[in-house]
């Protein structure tokens, strides 16, 4: 009995090469995390590693990356290659930019891409995106344009044939507050690319592949076909939804129409409110990333993130609107709009694919900046603290409490926090009756109360959404409870800066998740369990579910 070994690019080979390439991205990612300076990179995995073929198609991406970076690298590379055409690139070059409109939507993410040459031949590109806290300027919630938000690095070469570009390094050094941290992270990228290239070449040798093209063709087509099959299962038509965000001076409408035609899906934001002079505008690249993420999670989770997976998706928005602003709109807090893309799209899709989507979550992510001074110290402290709202209900499951989508930032231990700032956390607790009623209920919100223990006052800055417009329920499910902000028990505006004196308390109650399906369809068993745990009060059960023991 003799068998020929598997032929080139059999499904076995594609599968193994795919596994190796994804693993390679994760290995490079892990190396970056281990050597990074920025705690954002280390603790929140606020970075991505990507491999692109010589035509600029993204083949693989590190698996733990945050959604903001999904698919942005090919678009950034396209812009880079317009400025530096392929024939002008040399071995050892590394291109860089942090332009919000060309990259990931704000200046704090730096994208770098390096062409990979083998025996003098371009075989593809390796790139990375990482978040940097300091990008110079005076980024503030009050910023009126993007110039205030920091240093814009136009598309340029940070490495020229292996040598650092001295002018660019000087500019960075002169404009950043912590240049060593940002430059350190840039340089750790160089080392990671180098290690990646060596391993990639070995992989090509081992698998007997001259370059990445044949593999890319195959795996991109498979990814595309997988998403197309999922889209085809949805009836053709245009489905619309409008979601209202709290905004600043006036509410902001995010209007979406999702058109399914055969195996294509088009998402358009015509009708969305115009861009505003507050730093929450979401450049189209960020809008696209979160729209693609929403579609992928709903229709084709678990398949690779590559260009093929985005071919069936088109995302458009009228220029000058909140989700496709013109320069010089301020964009620093673009997630305050961008995190609304998934619930808007799910609202539209719920009309035809109710088993694929979830009700609104208590998102965009809530955070708070505390700024103050420890007793006996001159240097002020600045501390950011994250708090998640309740998760939206799912078609067959309740939403978990204190878990947010699409954002995904973990909390900090209270014991760590109290070690760092002169404050006492008096409670961190689930709040009854905050999850929207429904056949499946939304996740509960949490409430946190902080007391100032120090002599110096502490400034508390918040930009909270979902206060006036709480997370909506879907398919007959009810809305979750809106968020609440209080000082000493009195409500304060959800977008404000306040000062708390010694002994004062500030309380935040995040928004609860929306429910799914009519409350009347909830089982008596589930309601009894809710009441026993105290997550739903008997009064609420009676009022919303008509339940009496």
């Amino acid at each position: 009995m003799t068998e020929q070994p598997p032929v080139k690019l059999s499904p076995v080979k594609v599968g193994v090469v795919w596994e190796r390439l994804s693993g390679l991205m994760d290995q490079v990612g892990e190396t970056c995390v281990r050597t990074s300076f920025s705690s954002v990179v280390r603790e929140n995995y606020d970075f991505a590693i990507g491999l692109l073929d010589k035509r600029g198609r993204q083949i693989a991406q590190s698996r733990r990356s945050v959604p903001s970076f999904i698919g942005t690298m090919s678009r950034t590379l396209t812009a880079m290659l317009e400025k530096f055409p392929i024939e002008t690139l040399n071995d050892g070059d590394v291109m860089i930019t942090n332009d919000g409109w060309l990259g990931t939507g704000h200046l704090n993410d730096i994208t770098m891409i390096k062409p990979l040459f083998r025996d003098g031949r371009l075989i593809g590109f390796i790139g990375s995106i990482f978040h940097t806290v300091d990008i110079g300027g005076a980024p503030s919630p009050a910023a009126k344009d993007c110039y205030e938000e920091g240093l814009n690095i136009p598309i340029s070469k940070i490495l020229i044939a292996g040598e650092e570009n001295p002018l660019l390094v000087d500019i960075l050094q002169a404009n950043l507050r912590e240049p060593e941290e940002t430059l350190g992270d840039i340089r750790s990228g160089f080392a990671a690319y180098h290690a990646c290239a060596a391993r990639l070449f070995r992989l090509l040798d081992d698998e007997d592949l001259p370059d990445l093209e044949a593999f890319a063709d195959d795996v991109l087509n498979r990814s595309e076909a997988s998403l197309r099959r999922a889209i085809e299962a949805i009836p053709d038509g245009t489905y619309c939804d409008t979601l209202t965000a709290d905004g600043f001076d006036h509410p902001l409408d995010i209007r979406v129409s999702v058109t399914i035609k055969g195996s294509d899906i088009a998402v358009d934001f015509a009708g969305t409110t115009d861009q505003i002079e507050h730093p929450v505008n979401s450049p189209l690249t960020f809008t696209q990333a979160y729209s693609c993420y929403a579609i992928k999670c709903a229709l084709d989770p678990g398949t690779p993130i590559n260009d093929g997976a985005f071919r069936p998706i088109t995302v458009t928005a009228p220029e000058g609107c909140l989700v496709n602003p013109r320069r010089p709109a301020p964009v620093w807090g673009r997630h305050l709009s961008g995190h609304y893309m998934p619930p808007a799209i799910y609202g539209a899709l719920s009309q035809v694919a109710p088993d694929k989507v979830i009700a609104d979550c208590g998102s965009p992510l809530w955070n708070v900046y505390f700024k103050g001074r420890r007793d006996g110290e001159d240097r002020p402290f600045v501390k950011m603290f994250f708090m998640n709202g309740g998760h939206g209900a799912r078609p067959t499951q309740d939403g978990p409490g204190c878990l947010s989508f699409p954002s995904n930032v973990s909390n900090q231990a209270i014991e760590q926090f109290e070690n760092q700032v002169p404050m006492l956390v008096e409670e961190k607790t689930l709040v009854p009756d905050t999850g929207g009623a429904g056949a499946f209920r939304g996740g509960n919100a949490q409430r946190l109360t902080f007391r100032n223990l120090g002599d110096a006052p502490i400034t508390v800055t918040i930009r909270h959404e979902r206060v006036a417009n709480p997370p909506r329920g879907l398919l007959g499910g009810e809305a979750g409870a809106g968020g609440i902000d209080m000082i000493n028990g009195d409500r304060i505006p959800s977008k404000s800066q306040n000062s708390i004196a010694k002994g004062d308390t500030v309380t935040f109650q995040t928004p609860g998740g929306g429910g799914m399906g009519p409350p009347g369809d909830r089982t008596a068993d589930a309601i009894r369990t809710d009441i026993a745990s105290g997550l739903v009060t008997p009064a609420f059960a009676k009022e919303r579910y008509g339940y009496e023991p």
Binding site: M1, E3, P6, P11, R394, A413, E427, K428, G534
Partner: protein, 700 residues
């Protein structure tokens, strides 16, 4: 009793290791005087696991013509603790915690562990919300009492807990890792008011910073404590009835062993005891083969595990997760702050099911056919193709000699399962599809192990693969090649390695104390006093367990980092540095360690997060001898698939117990033993060493 002097020429002094697994209870008996090792496998008795233990011990004594009085030590490891947590079959437990914080256990870290999945489940807390009670007490972050609990309120609390009819209570207060005064006060009062109920405080279980992880750990300890201590009490009494030693030793998850009286106080420290034994065995085998740096690769029926052994010591961590609810995903389980051997586990074992994914590619696991119905070839009703089915189709396993011939396999069933599920949908031959399963599962394990090494700051290429578990030796060489590793060790008794590892483990106990301080402000007088106190307690424990006082050694470690960093690095601090109160040396030891791990240093201030003190008895010296059998080694040949050869080649099959020491055998070759088959690929050579280990050198 002289437990740890293997050179003592007492008449008989057998050491017995017993490991309870899901299906089998393994028993290993060593005569330290001769190095002779015997083993026995009996069925696990899930209803009362002690029955299987005693049955196994009785059988191995009979087989070795030994009497119970000639047994010196019994060391035991068990999955009881982990299973109770996975199946939520522990005691009804209450939590008593700081006012305002009873939901910490349920809220967790607020992180979605699978970022593309809208339907993830969060782990169900071990204590439901209605059994989580609050006390109006508070400690500051510096460990000062801000509010002491009110005695009147505590009496009401005791009444509430009594009414709730629980069997165990965990007490966890904020910042108690710094000062446990309030926890102690509440424990004393509750203990008095609730006789017969198990009560433990977070300070006793593991005084580490991080309220969620500490609560989870203390609750898990309370949850398993009643069933665990009942089990141990039963086992000890049965052992004494059989005139076995009344001191039973238990294997901890960090590779140490403790007396049963210590173990019942900290049952959560046994959570990974079986796999820890495997790692300890790997360290011994590595030492015998003169390989101090080992990647221990343990592939069993449902999962594969890997851990690193550097300079003869298994790498440890104190972040562990048990009972993951989703595909072994980090973050989907219950976090435990206990010292454990740092191990990854992925859903890739012999029983893992292969399927075609949405992309039309082969995926393996994490769903498993387990042992029932098992792989298709078992003929027990399994219809899905598994890794074992692929191994059979490729000739790596033999239908007639599986488990020493005790279990006939059906190649036809494998062929049908693979054809139906993979070959036909993909347009491949059955052999190509089987090869696809083998390649795919090996590649996923290689990636997981490579990333695990990077996560601990090491390169996998610097390690030698040591294969244990039934499926380990079948996959090890291919896996090693994928990782760029050139050497593979296949020890004798790979199937009972955990039980053997118990025998290799020293009596030891580790204490941890949080003490967050910048190095510049370290109060080494206070630290030294604390370390001495823990050392004293540790010496008390290990000497009570039979270690001679002069044989007990202490190691002191500090968990350190650059201020503001998210990861700590463990630094060994010599006694002399503390004696000299040499703060500068503490810092330079950290910097040196950091540089060794990451190849760079930072110009930043450093801090200590916690101190650990481990007191250990001597490591037992084990030199098992190869029990070789005379006679021709080669049993025959069979057709085996090797991609290097472009297909099936006629491959010699050897009985591994008949191959003579030092005899070099060129690949391709197979070595069969009862529990496994060792695959030596083409372009590799295998040499059995004096201890019976087969050393495989892979060519380029």
């Amino acid at each position: 009793m002289n437990l740890h002097n293997p050179d003592a020429k007492t008449a008989t002094a057998y050491r017995i290791g017993v490991d309870i697994g899901g299906t089998f209870t393994d028993v290993v008996m060593l005569d330290p005087a001769t190095g002779k090792l015997t083993n026995e496998k009996v069925l696990t008795t899930p209803d009362d696991p002690s029955e299987g233990v005693l049955n196994g011990v009785t059988r191995i004594l009979a087989a070795g013509n030994a009497t119970s009085s000639s047994v010196q030590t019994v060391i035991h490891g068990t999955t009881l603790v982990a299973n109770a947590l996975i199946e939520r079959k522990g005691a009804k437990t209450a939590l008593v915690t700081t006012k305002g914080f009873r939901d910490v256990l349920e809220i967790g870290r607020e992180l979605r562990y699978s970022i593309y999945d809208l339907f993830i489940d969060t782990p169900v807390p071990l204590v439901p919300r209605e059994l989580r009670f609050e006390v109006d007490e508070r400690m500051t972050s510096k460990g000062a009492v801000l509010r002491a609990p009110d005695p009147g309120a505590l009496r009401a609390l005791a009444a509430d807990i009594r009414a709730a009819d629980v069997e165990a209570v965990a007490i966890v207060f904020l910042h108690a890792f710094r000062n446990d005064e309030n926890e102690r006060v509440v424990k004393e009062l509750l203990a008095e008011a609730l006789p017969g109920i198990t009560i433990c405080t977070s300070f006793e279980v593991m005084p580490q910073i991080g309220e969620y992880e500490r609560t989870s750990t203390a609750v898990a300890n309370a949850f398993v404590q009643p069933i665990f201590s009942n089990y141990i009490a039963r086992l000890v009494s049965e052992m004494s009835r059989l005139e076995l030693p009344e001191d039973l030793f238990l294997m901890l998850a960090d590779g140490g062993t403790v007396h049963h009286e210590t173990a019942v106080k900290y049952p959560i420290r046994l959570v990974q005891s079986g796999p820890a034994g495997g790692a300890q065995a790997a360290a011994v085998f590595g030492k015998l083969a003169e390989e101090p740096n080992i990647l221990c690769f343990d592939m069993g029926g449902t999962t594969a595990k890997a851990c690193l052994i550097q300079d003869g010591e298994a790498l440890k961590t104190d972040n562990f997760e048990v009972a993951r609810v989703f595909r072994f995903a980090k973050g989907s389980g219950l976090p435990l702050q206990v010292p454990v051997i740092d191990m990854i586990e992925i859903g890739a074992g012999g029983g893992s099911i292969a399927h075609v994914d949405k992309l039309g590619l082969i995926r393996v696991g994490p769903e498993s056919a387990s042992s029932k119905p098992g792989p298709a070839c078992y003929g027990l009703g399994g219809t899905h193709p598994t890794v074992t089915d692929a191994d059979l189709m490729l000739g790596y396993l033999d239908a007639a000699s599986f488990l020493g011939g005790d279990m006939a396999l059906s190649k036809e069933a494998s062929e049908n399962a693979i054809r139906q599920a993979l070959a036909e949908p993909l347009g491949l031959s059955v052999v190509e599809a089987a090869w696809g399963i083998y390649e795919t599962v090996n590649e996923s394990m290689a990636q997981a192990a490579t990333i695990h090494a990077l996560e601990s700051g090491r390169k996998v290429q610097d390690f030698t693969v040591l294969a244990i578990g039934g499926a380990g030796p079948v996959h090890a060489s291919n896996l090693a090649r994928r990782m760029g590793v050139r050497r593979v060790i296949c020890p004798v008794g790979a199937g009972v390695a955990s039980a053997f590892g118990f025998l290799a483990s020293p009596t030891s106990f580790e204490f941890v104390r949080a003490a967050i301080e910048p190095v510049a402000e370290l109060d080494l007088d206070r630290i030294d006093a604390m370390v001495r106190e823990l050392e004293e307690e540790g010496r008390r424990l290990v000497t009570a367990a039979g270690v001679a006082p002069e044989d007990a050694t202490t190691s002191i470690g500090a968990l350190m980092r650059y201020m503001g960093q998210g990861y700590e690095v463990e630094v060994t601090i010599p006694r002399s540095v503390l004696d000299a109160r040499d703060t500068a040396e503490v810092e330079s030891l950290f910097v040196a360690r950091y540089e060794a791990l990451f190849g760079r240093t930072e110009k930043m201030e450093t801090e200590v997060i916690s101190w650990r003190v481990q007191v250990s008895g001597p490591k037992p010296v084990l030199e098992p001898t190869a029990a070789l059998i005379d006679g021709p080694a080669q049993k025959g040949t069979r057709a085996v698939y090797f991609s290097e050869s472009g297909g099936f080649v006629d491959t010699p099959v050897y009985d591994r117990y008949r191959v003579k020491t030092g005899e070099q055998i060129d690949g391709p070759a197979l070595f069969e033993e009862r529990e496994s088959t060792i695959i030596v690929p083409p372009n590799a050579v295998a040499v059995p060493d004096a201890h019976g280990n087969l050393i495989i050198e892979l060519g380029e």
